[in-house]
C-alpha cells in the first residue's frame, strides 16, 4: 500500500487531523501549543518527506520539550501533550496512502484525550466538526483505489456524510443512555503533573495575585430550603497551623473526626455542591460541616478530605450549620501547634501582644475585641500592596497598615498566638454571587479568602474574620474592581455571563452528571425503579434495534419517489396491474404496455388504451396537459382497478 497520495486527498486528511488536534492543543500549555502549531504548519507545507534522521531529531526535541515543561513526571497532561506532539509531527510523514490511514486513526483519538482534561461544551463543539472532517477524509481515502476512475459524485460525498452522521444519532443516543455504565471505575485516572491554580495547602503572599484575576467558577452551590445570609457564606477549604515567617502551611496532619460532630445552634442547611476540578484532595464545604459527604470524610479540624484527587467535576451534598458549637478539648499536640511562632521574627508584634495581655488579664474575648477594634480604626484594605520584608507581620501592623485577607489573617493569628490564645488560619472562599436564572450560587476562584479561628475556653474554635473588621470607608479597592478593570467586556454584559454560566451548569448536570446511578433510574417511566445491568442491556438491545430499523428503512428507501403526482399515479397504476399478473417491463413504453394489457383484459380495453395514450402524450409529446385534464387523468389512474380476465364485461369489483 505504498501508493502516493494525491494532493487534494492529502489536504483533506491533514485538515481533518488538524481539526482533531485543535481541542487537544487548547488543553496543553500555551507556549507548547504554539510551537506544535508551528511544527504542524511546517509539516503541511512540505511537499516531500524529510530524511529520517531529521524527523527523528525533531521528534526527540519535541519530546524533550514536553518532558521539560511537565518536569519529567508522567501524568495525564504529559500524555496528552505527547499525543499532541505526535500528531503535530505526523504531517511530515504523510505522503503515502498508508500514512494517511494511520494519521486518521491517531487523530481520532485526539479529541478523546482532550475530553480527559476538559469536559466543557467548548471541547465537544470543537470535536464535532473535527469528526465530520475525519469522516470526509475517510470517504476520500476509500475512493482511492489504483486504477479507479475519478469520482464523479463529489457533491454526493458530502451529502452521504451528513446523512450518515444524522442516521447514526439514534443509535449513538441509544448507546449513550442505555449502554450499561460502570458503577465504579476499573482503574483510576492518572493525576496531572501540573496542578491547576487554586487553593493549595499553603498560603504565601505571592499566590494570591493569580487567583484574584481568575473569575472562573470554583464551585456552584444550590441550597435546599432556606439560604443562609450572605455574610455567613464562608466556604471552608483547608486549615493551616504552621507559620515560618512568610508562609503558612498545614503543619499538623488532621485525622478523621472521632466522636460526634458539633452541635448546631442554628437550623442546619442542606446544599448540593458541584466542585470544579482542582486536582487536589479536599472538598469545599460551608462553614461548619456537620456530616461527611459521599466522596470524602470529615476530619478533626472540620475540613473534608476526598478519597481521590478531584480530577473531574464532582457533585456532593452537604449539611452545615453557620453557627456551631464545637466543644472538643484541645489536645496537647494541637495546642502546641496552635501557639507556635517562629523565633526571632516580628518582635514588635510580640511586644504589643504582651502589652495587651497585661491590660486584659485573662480575658481572651477582650483581647480579640481589642485587636478587631484596632483593625477597624487604623487599617485599610487594598489589593495593591508593597512586598514585605523579613518581619512581614511587623511591617504590616506598624508600617504599611494596608493589605488584603492574607495579611489580615496572618497578622491576626500571629497576634493571638503571641498573646497565648491558640489560633489557626483557615483557607477557603467567602461570598459568591447568586445566579438568578438558575437559582444557585456561584463561588469564583477570586472569592478565595483566608480568615482565622481562635480557641476560646468553654466555646471551642470560633471563627474570626479580621478582614471583615476593616471600616467600609477604608476599603480602597476590591476584587470586583480588579475584575472590572481587567474585564474585556463592560459590566452590562453581566446578564450574558449569568446566562452562560447557567447554561454551563445545566451542561454539567445533564451531560456530565449522567452516571451509573442516573442511568439506573432512567427506566423509571417504564415502572422499573432501579434498573439492573440485565434490564439495561435489554433496553439497550431494544433501543439499538429500533435505531437500526430506522436506519435500514432510510437506506433501503433510497431516493424518494418522484414528486409529480401524475407520475406517481401512473406508477401506482402499473403496480396494481403488476399485482394482477401483468407486470410492466422496464423497457416497455406506456403505449405498448397499454396495448398489451388491453389485449390481456379485453373487458377494459378501451379504458386502458385511453389511459396509456393520454399518459404517453403528456409525458412525451410537446405541449402541456391542461390542469383539469391532468387532474382528471390522475383521478382515473388512481381509481382504476383491474378486472379478472374472464369476467363478463360491465362487471366491476
Amino acid at each position: 500500500m505504498a501508493e502516493p497520495l494525491p494532493s487534494s486527498v492529502r489536504a483533506w486528511c491533514l485538515a481533518a487531523a488538524m481539526a482533531c488536534l485543535l481541542p487537544l492543543l487548547l488543553q496543553v500549555q500555551a507556549p507548547l501549543a504554539i510551537s506544535l502549531l508551528v511544527v504542524a504548519a511546517a509539516g503541511i507545507a512540505m511537499p516531500r518527506p524529510l530524511p529520517v534522521l531529521v524527523r527523528l531529531l525533531l521528534f526527540a526535541s519535541l519530546v524533550g520539550y514536553v518532558l521539560a515543561t511537565h518536569g519529567l513526571n508522567l501524568g495525564r497532561d504529559t500524555g496528552c501533550a505527547m499525543l499532541a506532539a505526535l500528531l503535530a509531527m505526523k504531517p511530515f510523514e504523510t505522503h503515502k496512502l498508508r500514512d494517511a490511514r494511520s494519521l486518521l486513526g491517531f487523530s481520532m483519538f485526539a479529541p478523546f484525550a482532550a475530553f480527559l482534561q476538559d469536559q466543557g461544551p467548548a471541547s465537544l463543539l470543537l470535536a464535532l466538526p473535527a469528526v465530520a472532517l475525519l469522516l470526509h477524509a475517510l470517504a476520500m481515502l476509500a475512493e482511492q483505489r489504483p486504477g479507479a476512475p475519478a469520482v464523479r459524485l463529489q457533491r454526493q460525498r458530502a451529502r452521504t456524510i451528513g446523512v450518515a452522521v444524522v442516521m447514526a444519532l439514534p443509535l449513538a443516543l441509544a448507546g449513550f443512555w442505555l449502554f450499561p455504565r460502570l458503577g465504579s471505575p476499573l482503574w483510576g485516572l492518572p493525576e496531572n503533573t501540573l496542578g491547576r491554580s487554586g487553593l493549595g495547602e499553603r498560603m504565601s503572599p505571592d499566590q494570591w495575585v493569580e487567583m484574584f484575576g481568575d473569575d472562573s467558577p470554583a464551585l456552584r452551590v444550590r441550597f435546599e430550603g432556606a439560604e443562609p445570609a450572605r455574610q455567613d457564606l464562608y466556604w471552608r477549604g483547608q486549615v493551616l497551623w504552621a507559620f515560618d515567617g512568610q508562609t503558612w502551611s498545614r503543619g499538623l496532619s488532621p485525622t478523621p473526626l472521632r466522636g460526634p460532630p458539633g452541635q448546631p445552634r442554628v437550623e442546619p442547611v442542606r446544599y448540593e455542591v458541584s466542585l470544579e476540578p482542582t486536582d487536589r484532595r479536599y472538598l469545599v464545604m460551608l462553614d461548619l460541616p456537620l456530616a461527611s459527604p459521599e466522596p470524602g470524610y470529615l476530619r478533626s479540624d472540620y475540613t473534608v478530605a476526598s478519597h481521590e484527587p478531584v480530577g473531574q467535576l464532582l457533585k456532593y451534598t452537604g449539611v452545615s450549620s453557620t453557627d456551631t458549637r464545637v466543644a472538643t478539648a484541645l489536645s496537647p499536640e494541637e495546642e502546641r501547634a496552635a501557639l507556635s511562632l517562629p523565633a526571632g521574627v516580628n518582635p514588635r508584634m510580640r511586644a504589643l501582644a504582651a502589652q495587651w495581655r497585661e491590660e486584659t488579664a485573662d480575658d481572651d474575648v477582650a483581647m480579640v475585641r481589642r485587636a478587631l477594634e484596632w483593625i477597624g480604626e487604623d487599617f485599610a484594605y487594598s489589593l495593591s500592596v508593597p512586598p514585605t520584608g523579613r518581619n512581614a507581620v511587623d511591617d504590616f501592623l506598624f508600617e504599611t497598615r494596608v493589605g488584603f485577607c492574607q495579611h489580615f489573617s496572618s497578622a491576626f493569628t500571629n497576634l493571638m498566638r503571641a498573646a497565648g490564645i491558640p489560633s489557626r488560619v483557615v483557607l477557603g472562599y467567602a461570598g459568591g454571587y447568586r445566579n438568578r436564572y438558575g437559582d444557585y450560587w456561584v463561588v469564583r476562584r477570586m472569592d478565595a479568602h483566608a480568615w482565622s479561628e481562635v480557641w476560646l475556653r468553654g466555646r471551642g474554635w470560633v471563627r474570626v474574620d479580621p478582614t471583615a473588621a476593616v471600616a467600609p470607608e477604608r476599603v480602597l479597592d476590591t476584587v470586583e474592581d480588579l475584575a472590572r478593570g481587567e474585564a474585556l467586556l463592560p459590566s452590562s454584559f453581566a446578564p450574558l455571563f449569568e446566562i452562560g454560566d447557567w447554561a454551563r451548569r445545566n451542561w454539567n448536570d445533564l451531560v456530565l452528571g449522567f452516571n451509573a446511578a442516573r442511568q439506573a433510574s432512567l427506566l423509571r417511566p417504564l415502572g422499573i425503579d432501579r434498573a439492573s445491568g440485565a434490564q439495561l442491556t435489554a433496553a439497550f438491545a431494544v433501543g439499538a434495534g429500533l435505531a437500526l430499523a430506522l436506519t435500514l428503512w432510510v437506506l433501503v428507501r433510497g431516493r424518494p419517489a418522484p414528486r409529480d403526482p401524475l407520475v406517481r399515479a401512473w406508477q401506482a397504476f402499473t403496480r396494481r396491474l403488476h399485482r394482477a399478473g401483468l407486470a410492466k417491463h422496464p423497457w416497455e413504453a406506456p403505449l405498448s404496455f397499454g396495448e398489451r394489457v388491453a389485449l390481456a383484459l379485453p373487458a377494459q380495453a378501451e379504458l386502458l388504451r385511453s389511459l396509456s395514450r393520454r399518459y404517453a402524450s403528456w409525458r412525451y409529446a410537446p405541449g402541456e396537459l391542461a390542469a383539469d385534464d391532468k387532474s382528471r387523468l390522475i383521478a382515473e389512474l388512481q381509481r382504476y382497478r383491474p378486472v379478472a380476465a374472464n369476467a363478463p364485461p360491465g362487471e366491476h369489483r
Binding site: R101, L135, A139, A148, F176, N515
Partner: protein
C-alpha cells in the same frame, strides 16, 4: 490491473473454498445477488479503527467521561451504519450478461460484464475482480452498465472463469462487502498462431499460379452487397456510380480453394500442427480465399468469412490434447 491484496482479502479468498460459502455451484445468468450471499468483513484499517474505538469506549466508561462516550458512540454508530450501507450496495445487483470475443492464447481476453440493479439506490464504488484483474464501476438506478476485465490467457480451449468477486469498501473503507459470482459461461481461447513467415499450402484445382495476375486483371463480376461480405471486397468507384453498394467477386477465387490438412503436417508435433493450422486459417481469411480445414475428427468448409474462420479456429482450439 493487478493489485496486491491485504491480509483480510487473502483470508477471505481462502474462506471462499469452504463448502458453506454461497454460491455452492456454478449458476446461470442472470445472477441476482440476494442478501444471503453478501459477506461483510472489516478491512485491516477498519480493525485498527475498531481497536481505537474500543479503547475510547473503555476509557470513557471507566472514567464516566460523557463527552468521550458521546463521541465514541457516534463514531461507532456511523461505522456500523456504513457496514449496513455497504451490504445494501450489493444486494439487488444483477449480472445479466457476460461476453468475450475469443482471442489467441497469450493475448488478454476482454471480458465484458453487464450489470443492472433493482431499486432506486445509487451504487457507487463497486469493484469487480477476477483473479488478479480488477475493474471499477458505478451503477445508477435503472441503468445498465458494462465493465471490461482483461483476463490473461495461457492455453487454448475453454477458459474456466472460476469465481468473480464483486465488492465495495465504500463509504468509509472500514469494511469490505463482497459476493462471489460463479457464472457458468464458457469463454473460448483460440490457439496461438505460429509466428514467423509461414507460407500457405498450394491450392489444388487449376494449377494456375495465383501470383501471375494482379487483382484488377482477374475475371470478376459485380454483385449486390450482402451482409457479411468483407469491406475489402466493396468496389467503391462502381458503387458510387451506381449509388448502391456493389461487391467485386473474383471468379478465380470463387473456384479456387485451399486445403488446410492436418495430415500433411506429419513432421510437426501435436501443438505445433494446431498452431500452424491456426496461422493458415488466419492468413487464408486475410487473403480472401476459400479454404477447407481437415482435422482428425472433423472437416470444416469449404467456405470463407468471419463465421467460417471462427468455426475453424474453434475446432482447432477444442482439439483434444495429443
Amino acid at each position: 490491473m493487478a493489485r496486491s491484496r491485504d491480509l483480510i482479502e487473502r483470508f477471505s479468498e481462502r474462506l471462499a473454498g469452504l463448502p458453506l460459502v454461497r454460491p455452492r455451484r456454478p449458476e446461470s445468468l442472470p445472477i441476482v445477488i440476494d442478501r444471503r450471499r453478501v459477506y461483510v468483513l472489516p478491512t485491516a484499517f477498519g480493525l485498527f479503527l475498531a481497536v481505537m474505538l474500543l479503547a475510547m469506549l473503555l476509557g470513557g466508561l471507566n472514567y464516566n467521561n460523557n463527552p468521550a462516550l458521546l463521541l465514541a458512540f457516534l463514531i461507532i454508530a456511523v461505522a456500523h451504519n456504513s457496514l449496513v450501507h455497504a451490504h445494501l450496495t450489493l444486494v439487488g445487483l444483477r449480472l445479466i450478461a457476460l461476453h468475450a470475443e475469443p482471442v489467441p492464447a497469450g493475448q488478454p481476453l476482454l471480458l465484458r460484464a453487464a450489470f443492472e440493479a433493482s431499486g432506486n439506490r445509487v451504487r457507487a464504488g463497486l469493484e469487480l475482480r477476477a483473479g488478479d484483474e480488477e475493474a471499477f464501476l458505478d451503477l445508477m438506478p435503472g441503468e445498465r452498465t458494462e465493465v471490461v476485465l482483461a483476463l490473461p490467457t495461457q492455453r487454448r480451449g475453454w477458459l474456466a472463469l472460476g469465481r468473480l468477486r464483486i465488492s465495495t469498501v465504500r463509504p468509509f473503507g472500514l469494511a469490505r462487502a463482497w459476493s462471489w459470482l460463479r457464472p457458468e459461461s464458457r469463454l473460448l481461447v483460440y490457439p496461438a498462431p505460429e509466428a514467423g513467415v509461414v507460407p500457405l499450402p498450394d491450392p489444388g484445382g487449376d494449377g494456375q499460379s495465383r501470383r501471375t495476375r494482379s487483382h484488377g486483371e482477374q475475371p470478376h463480376h459485380l454483385r449486390e452487397y450482402r451482409t457479411g461480405d468483407a469491406l475489402r471486397q466493396i468496389a467503391w468507384k462502381s458503387s458510387a456510380r451506381a449509388d448502391r453498394l456493389l461487391v467485386r467477386e473474383y471468379e478465380a477465387t470463387a473456384q479456387r480453394e485451399l486445403d488446410l490438412d492436418w495430415f500433411t503436417l506429419g513432421t510437426l508435433g501435436h501443438e505445433a500442427r494446431i498452431r500452424r493450422l491456426a496461422r493458415w486459417v488466419i492468413d487464408a481469411e486475410r487473403q480472401g480465399s476459400r479454404y477447407r480445414l481437415r482435422l482428425p475428427l472433423a472437416v470444416i468448409g469449404p467456405g470463407s468469412g468471419a463465421e467460417h474462420r471462427h468455426a475453424c479456429l474453434r475446432a482447432l482450439a477444442l482439439m483434444p490434447d495429443g
